[in-house]
Amino acid sequence: MNNVSLRISLLGLAALMLLASSGTAVAGEAKTLCVFDLSGANGDAFASMKEYQVAAAGWGVDFELKPYTDELAATEDFKAGKCDAALITGVRARPFNKFTSTIEAMGALPEYGNLKKVVKAFSKAKARKLMIQGDYEVAGIFPLGAVYLYVNDKSINTKEALAGKKIATFSFDEAARVMVDVAGASYAAADISTFAGMFNNGSVDACYAPAAAYGPLELHKGLGSNGGVIKFPLAMLTLQLVIRTGDSWPEGFQDASRAYAYDHFNDLVKLAKKAEKAIPGKYWIEIKDEDRARYEELFRDVRVRLRDKEKVFDKSMLKLMRKIRCKADATRAECSQERE
């Protein structure tokens, strides 16, 4: 090939490259993100992941979103390598990261503002090592809403009144089982598809769920004319994005993902608060200050036991959340004690 031909060829190649870059960007690494959402692809969690998917494309990851209505199936498929990432609740994320899973400890974060502080702290690059446990890393924590106790009688509004009452309790949640036990209540095994029916038909006296469950599961039937919802968050439910550290991810993906979760915290809390507003005012049970203090003491007893005996909760995370609670309200009784 002579010099002229070579120059023409090189020019042509350069022109082609210019055309290609002006119209089409190079797609990122293809990954599968398995999303747990009770309503599958029609649910709020999945909808929010669509936005995450667009953002992730900008970080160099081309996620395919796969909806799962069965959280156990999503977790198992992730472990088996069928998913490169999984979005699951904190309870299910426990085997992957005990530290972040402890966010959902009962009574640990009484307000959304508390949870936001935690998510903000985790969004910093220096927090990365805490997000990694063994072969897994938590690349984002998203709020799913506060969990409340629904009771069929408004008089079940104190720690003492819980004694002997039957509470529908998810079998896979060891922390919840211990909680029911320590409260002196009676544990009635349930799962996501049975708990509402048990409450609504009177088989149990109480159940716990986020406000978003009230409408679709018609929990007003279980509440009846005497029941109510205790206006005291039992826990902050979260969805945690778990990835494998051994897989290849673009540089900075993990930090960008956690920062994204923090930046979009308010959007998701808005949905949770909307659901809470949809519960009629007549059902909300306000807790007296002295009863609130006793509930908090009960929750603290349970957290400490789950930390020391069952080893379900992480000590450092409990300590961090205590710090946040005491910074928000230094008059809390626990702030002069060092139990957590």
Partner: protein, 379 residues
């Protein structure tokens, strides 16, 4: 003088009669409007609705809803009950918004496939806006059901089976309620649709004859039970959904099958979704007659079904499903290697056999030239 007095009396009488006539006309004007409205609303339900239903042109059907909805609804201002007519105009208008939401969704998926994040984000924003509009329009249809028939989920309303659209109006209104919720979730809750509609709709669906309406009532109920664990009364909602799809097939109506495909897609049951969609393609290819009386609904079901396929194709290929394709993208299985697995057992291939030199040449047909060693013939 007397003649002049008579003319004046005549003129006065004439003026009085004219005045009375005008007063009568003016008072009748208010009733005329209501009469017109009542007639239009009844005409819409008894004639416009069936006529539109008999056409498979979904785009025209939805545009009719957008353009006629305001006109029909305005008669409510003169005390005409437009609720039944407005069920159809509202849900038809919702179909237009839904179509735009679908297009925005495909644009987003296409942009993601090509790595164009700005485009993807823009498409997502538009998608949510259109889902919100679809939710609001569908909810308007549902609220007209409440107005016309009472709140669903309590006791079954009296549906006039002689006046044939009543069953169908009720059923379509219920499906609008369900669609309102689905679209609102895709819009991030922006339309504020109440979350307690699904169980009411599931109960109300039992009020409509399942066999007469192509399995759609049972399919709707099953889809809701799959979406909300514990909302059902027991049994296998997937089995019900599949049976409903088959029933719909036998009546040339795709709505129940569309619900099966959508629900499978939404719950990650990809293989089930693909099989259910492919079945629709087989039915079309078989040439079996489709439901002509409700061609619009059959065509709409096909639109919903096709959108699931379009998403599948766009995610994997960057473009929607080809015009006559009713299957998902076939994923080629990865070459897992292993070609040399049996080498140790079988050893390498034996050398080819050498040609036998002392065999007599094959007899050549008469006139055929002798072949040389190279294969070239010599004339």
């Amino acid at each position: 003088m007397q003649v002049k007095a008579l003319s004046e009396r005549e003129a006065l009488m004439k003026r009085m009669v004219a005045f009375a006539g005008l007063a009568l006309m003016l008072s009748a004007g208010c009733n005329l409007q209501k009469m017109t409205g009542d007639m239009m609303a009844e005409f819409a339900v008894e004639h416009t609705f069936p006529y539109t239903m008999s056409s498979s042109d979904v785009d025209q059907g939805c545009e009719a809803g957008v353009s006629m909805g305001g006109f029909l609804g305005s008669y409510s201002r003169v005390e005409t009950d437009t609720s039944r007519a407005s069920i159809v105009s509202s849900l038809s208008a919702a179909m237009c918004a839904e179509a735009e939401a679908f297009e925005a969704e495909l644009r987003r998926l296409r942009a993601l496939h090509e790595g164009r994040t700005g485009e993807a984000l823009d498409a997502l924003i538009l998608e949510k806006q259109k889902h919100r509009l679809a939710a609001e329009r569908n909810y308007a249809a549902y609220l007209n059901v409440v107005k016309a028939y009472g709140e669903p989920g309590k006791k079954c309303p009296k549906l006039d089976s002689e006046d044939y659209p009543d069953d169908l109006l009720y059923l379509l209104g219920l499906s609008s309620g369900m669609l309102a919720m689905v679209h609102d979730r895709h819009a991030g809750g922006a339309a504020g649709i109440p979350m307690d509609l699904p169980p009411k709709i599931a109960r109300a669906a039992k009020c409509v004859n399942n066999d007469a309406w192509w399995g759609m009532p049972a399919a709707m109920k099953a889809a809701i039970e799959i979406a909300i664990p514990g909302a059902g009364e027991g049994g296998d909602p997937w089995a019900v959904l599949k049976e409903s799809a088959t029933l719909g097939d036998s009546k040339g109506m795709s709505m129940a099958r569309a619900l099966l495909v959508q629900t499978a897609g939404a719950t990650g049951e990809h293989d089930m979704m693909c099989a259910a969609a492919a079945k629709h393609g087989e039915l079309l290819a078989s040439g079996e007659a489709r439901n002509s009386k409700f061609a619009l609904l059959d065509a709409y079901g096909a639109v919903l079904l096709r959108h699931e396929l379009n998403k599948d194709w766009t995610k994997q290929k960057g473009h929607r499903a080809p015009v006559d394709a009713w299957t998902c993208v076939e994923i080629e299985e990865e070459d897992e290697g292993g070609d040399d697995l049996l080498d140790d057992m079988l050893g390498s291939d034996p050398p080819p056999k050498a040609p036998v030199e002392d065999s007599p040449p094959e007899a050549r047909p008469e006139g055929e030239p002798e072949a040389s060693e190279s294969g070239a013939t010599t004339p």
